[in-house]
Symmetry: C2
Subunit: 716 residues, 2 copies
């Protein structure tokens, strides 16, 4: 069959708009992609691959080759294709075999090379992901110098017309055609190398690299494919789409209510700071100066003085605190704002983790006593910890920063520290600072001390107020993604998921009547309505895609619970719930729908936290000798050591735990070369036999006497 | 008594820290203020005035002069002081009389010039506002070259020590010592001139100018003294303190819920736009270009290309809409963001009304049909109207903007228009635009039209999406302040007030025992707790100030309801509620507290809206002849006319209704010189005998045939 007659045949068979383009001859996926890029009028599409395999066959039997069509991105081990046709193994067919069967060289073969003449001589295997693909597919119509764009449905229609009943193989679920299972890749223990980062057995519409093999690429794919983030044309700036912004809204809603209970009120301070005010406060601003963005022009007018965009609001706010706080009766003053700040980082940006503009809240409070300030620092730290544990299902360690790591100009900094298993690195979650009186002295925020006696000059002694500042940013979202996500994509804790459960109509086949289909879909809508009415955020996915496509889609987006409903469920008055965290299938009786779903969501929330915590706990190791320190780090641990709590020792530890690498080499996410920083001195110190014995226990860093257990690790 | 001995006497009497400074001799308040400004170590204080009056006395009687001490800012008509001592009138005492009584010239006299020797020869009258003042007072200690700073309590202690029982006069409430009443000034009908703008009879801790006399000054005072706004050191930027930001939070909470019901989701787009993207979109951006702020530097590095701060987000968002909208199944796309935008205005800034950075929401949606888009434009407009009417108690007129006034590049603009009675000007409240297909064509936001037939080239015709954008800003707050505020300050509708009711302990006198006082205050706390538990936002004001001071304080801050509780109320098992809108006193039985207060708040909300609406309605006048147009405007009306709806006529009306003034003269808020703009074509058109008769009714502007009733007015 010639290309022209094939195309006209296809046009007759399929109702889609058929599109054919010509280009130079290509020999593989890469040259094909590049040829299409330089061709006009190419619609949006996914590349495919069509492979001819020769299954292992007894010598006495005729060889029946396999023609396998798959998405270019699908990893298609030949063994799985072989198994699908009842053989044990298969290998790539030689060119002469291909010529013999199809009459063309292997590079020209496409799925449309199967025709009425050769149909009976081959097994046709289709990749399930290809069938489920949402959009046009690119195939060679028996010529590698041409490409035809057709829908997955058109492929099936065509094959039917030539008398082929293709075997559909879900390469993401080996050994099980129905129930998804954890990708085999996750069960491997050996350290994967970047070369085999491509996912072999994953859900194929989505993430194409394994989390544990190419973490930066995985992170980027998860964020973009799940619709959390869109990359923006200014480096370091990202669009937060509703799928991620809703998490921020959930955090805001919870935290805002909690701080209002503490008497905090919200306000809004300007985005701009005059250079005079910003620079007034030298010590503190020194750290920010290299990252400050400056406005120098408005319209066509040069400004008389450049104006800074706030990198944080201390200097914006505190001159006014000095004005507003006139008496001890004005204390405590507790203000917070939800805003964005700009820090023009020149380092490699990362969505949520290191961005030039980010959303956060910044609380700034003033107190009459250090005790009052300290109490609040810990109240806020507890709230931050609860955001991680209760909302994001991420375990954190509360602690105090070392002198070296504390907020510049502050008195002490408390922190919640997270842990990213894939890289074995610690990550600062949020910080609550006691600023002491340093800022109040700088900005002259002063009251008369009502408890002091009047001095000899007849004046009541002045009291510089005690200040705190505390902030939590959208970094929270990045941490949750990195901790929970897997090779199928995002995994969202129910507490912060925009969609907590998705209802998918199932079991609709060619035999289903329109009426039955409408009934099932209508019922799915009603299930979603019932759940929404019970405050369980639910969507019914009634789009014209296959259930398999929808499963992968919502798994990639991390929806905690899938509710399948089809004729079998109808008979049993149930929905079939499938958990995103365990893939467990649980029937939920319809008369217990709301409670059943709600209980499952609660279980998922708990399980996600406990799973993350077990993994984290397994990677916090106590080390008492320096010899064990770097080996522990290299096993992706964060490390607790008896520590002398000196800056000198801290710097030595960092230096001595850094790998020797060429300074120009980019950081390897999997094997970071950086030295270990002090993450925090945990509030909860080991006790019992592990307790520090003053005067006896030695610092694992320097051998001097230890004062505390310190938590160290490579970190973000 | 010499100054020195007076000071030492004062020091013995009073426990306050006493402060005395010397300066040049002064002759009045202005020279005094300036002398103190150039003197070192002057504490924060309020100036006072001490006046000696000679009451009208029968010839047979001895003249007993009045020595009156008041805040400098208190207007103290001599008639009121006279009345307080039982005389009909009084005039300024001649210098010889003052010398005779006090032994010093009038400019040296201060309240401390009253001593044991002369106490029996004079009436001492004190301004209630002086007694209630929160802070130090400045007096001359019998010498105009010296100033002593003392607390109000010290004044009373001193007077007591010299045997004087002063007469306290509340100059803000003539004829009534207890129940506050509307200031007499408001009852005047004559147009006040700016010269008598100073409030004669207002609550004195607060606003010192009359709303109807010096509106810009009044507006500034209300915003700053009520704690809504703090002026910032960058012109056109303001700090939103919790007292105003909480109103924005209330609006956000309500509107966000409503738009989510419509399927809108929130996201966040970057603050920055590259110059390339911003300038891509020439027509639309032309209007914003003169106001765009440009970042050209980060740290010490000059950026390769300047980066703009968004003045609005069309150009930020729509390139991505083109990417995200691939199919008609992606429609409608409904995104919103709560953010701040920057428009570097060079005109005179006004808090909330014209600021260089402001908070708003911007919704941007895409639809498959014009009908779908239009339906949403009106859904949003209705929500905007409800924010004004239901939350802010401000009446608005819904309408469509004229061609000349619509959003540049859009298809049509709908608006809610408010009215500011004091200036008689219209004000645009919020706008909901249908952008038509102009932007989708510019940014190539396109889908295949699922309803069109496949064309001859085999392609399905493209459909450019129909877009809307809609925005509402913190201008809302400014409008509510301007509409409702009065000479006592802010007046907040209960729906958006941070504090809806304030509990003030009353009736505590010198005879009250500590135990009784504690009981009353404790009970007030409990009342507040009860109300807060019933979701009525309540504070108990237990500060050590007089009830009168607290009344004025909370009236100035606009709290809708004051709840007084004292021994009399305790006996009757009630609180006494006082409405901010009517000053009506209503006893509320304690066993009906929550419902009683809630009902009163609902009544206040309704009454505020109805009062504002009645005033607005009285100032929307129908005019059918041009001759009546400008006179109607000059009576602070906005004007409905039968209109031809042409841009030419609109421009003529503006030109012909402008007053002839010198171009350099600043705008007079009371008598604006500007011409009348078209505010909108109201959706609700006059009917019945006022209906436009096509082909007959003439345009009041140009005499051609009228098509619609158009609303015109001077405006913000
Ligand atoms: Zn050490
Ligand atoms: Zn006209």
């Amino acid at each position: 069959m010639s290309v022209d007659s094939l195309v006209s045949c296809l046009e007759q068979l399929i109702t889609d708009d058929l599109k054919l383009v010509e280009h130079q001859e290509v020999s593989n996926g890469a040259t094909w992609a590049s040829a299409l890029q330089s061709t006009k009028d190419v619609p949006s599409h996914a590349l495919t691959k069509t492979i001819v395999l020769k299954p292992k066959t007894a010598k006495s039997q005729t060889v029946v080759p396999i023609i396998l069509a798959a998405l270019e991105t699908t990893s298609t081990p030949s063994g799985i294709a072989a198994k699908a046709v009842g053989s044990k193994e298969a290998r790539m067919a030689a060119a002469d075999l291909v010529e013999e069967v199809f009459g063309i060289p292997p590079t020209d073969v496409g799925i449309f090379s199967v025709n009425k003449e050769n149909a009976s001589k081959v097994h046709v295997v289709l990749d399930a992901a290809l069938i489920q693909h949402n959009g046009l597919l690119a195939f060679h119509p028996s010529s590698s110098a041409k490409t035809v764009f057709v829908s997955p449905a058109a492929v099936q229609t065509y094959l039917k017309s030539v008398g082929v009943n293709p075997i559909i193989v879900d390469f993401s679920a080996p050994g099980s055609a129905t129930a998804p299972s954890k990708p085999a890749a996750q069960k491997k223990k050996a350290e994967p190398s970047k070369n085999d980062a491509a996912i072999e057995n994953a859900a194929l519409i989505g993430i194409t690299v394994r989390k544990d093999a190419d973490f930066p690429n995985w992170y980027q794919q998860v964020l973009t494919k799940s619709d959390m983030i869109e990359y923006y044309d200014i480096s370091g700036c990202y669009i937060l789409k509703p799928w991620s912004y809703s998490i921020w809204e959930a955090i805001q809603g919870w935290f805002d209510k909690e701080i209002k209970k503490l008497g905090v009120r919200n306000g809004y301070f300007p985005l701009f700071v005059s250079s005079k005010v910003l620079e007034k406060e030298k010590d503190h601003v020194e750290g920010f100066a290299p990252e400050v963005a400056w406005v120098t022009r408005a319209g066509t007018s040069e400004l008389d003085e450049p104006i800074a965009i706030r990198p944080t609001s201390e200097t914006v706010m505190y001159p006014y605190y000095a004005k507003w706080i006139r008496s001890h009766r004005d204390l405590p003053l507790k203000l917070n704002q939800w805003n964005s700040v700009v820090r023009w980082e020149f380092k490699n940006p990362q969505p949520f983790l290191r961005t030039r503009e980010f959303l956060w809240q910044e609380g700034h409070t003033a107190h009459m006593t250090l005790e009052g300030a300290t109490e609040e620092v810990h109240q806020i730290l507890d709230l931050y910890a609860r955001i991680y544990t209760d909302l994001l299902a991420v375990p954190v360690i509360k602690g105090v920063k070392s002198e070296n790591e504390k907020f510049a100009g502050g008195m002490f900094t408390t922190t919640v520290e997270g842990y990213i298993p894939t890289t074995g690195r610690g990550i600062q979650g949020a910080t609550s600072h006691c600023l002491g009186q340093n800022f109040s002295k700088m900005f002259n925020i002063v009251v008369e001390d009502p408890n002091a006696e009047i001095g000899p000059t007849g004046e009541r002694p002045k009291l510089f107020v005690w200040q705190n500042s505390w902030g939590l940013s959208t970094r929270t979202i990045g941490v949750a993604v990195m901790v929970h996500g897997d090779d199928k994509g995002l995994k969202l804790p129910p507490a912060i998921a925009l969609v907590q459960s998705v209802v998918v109509p199932c079991g609709i086949t060619n035999k289903t009547t329109d009426q039955e289909r409408n009934e099932i879909e209508g019922f799915c809508s009603k299930l979603a309505d019932r759940l929404n009415a019970a405050d369980i955020r639910t969507e019914a996915d009634l789009r014209a895609y296959t259930p398999g496509y929808k499963f992968s889609h919502w798994e990639m987006k991390g929806v905690p619970l899938r509710l399948e409903y089809g004729p079998n469920d109808a008979k049993k008055n149930q929905v079939t719930a499938v958990r995103r965290d365990t893939f467990e299938k649980i029937p939920v009786p319809l008369n217990n729908l709301e409670k059943g779903v709600s209980d499952l969501l609660a279980k998922i929330q708990t399980n996600m936290y406990e799973t993350a915590k077990a993994e984290r706990d397994a990677h916090v190791v106590k080390v008492k000798e320096w010899a064990d320190f770097v080996p522990a780090l290299n096993k992706k641990n964060i490390v607790m050591i008896p520590w002398c709590n000196t800056t000198e020792c801290e710097k030595e530890i960092k230096k001595n735990s850094a790998r020797q690498v060429n300074g120009d080499e980019p950081e390897d996410e999997k094997a970071p070369s950086m030295g270990a920083k002090s993450l925090c001195i945990p509030l909860e110190q080991p006790s019992g036999e592990d307790a520090i014995i003053e005067g006896t226990t030695k610092c694992a860093g320097c051998g001097n006497l230890a004062k505390v257990w310190g938590l160290f690790g490579r970190s973000y």
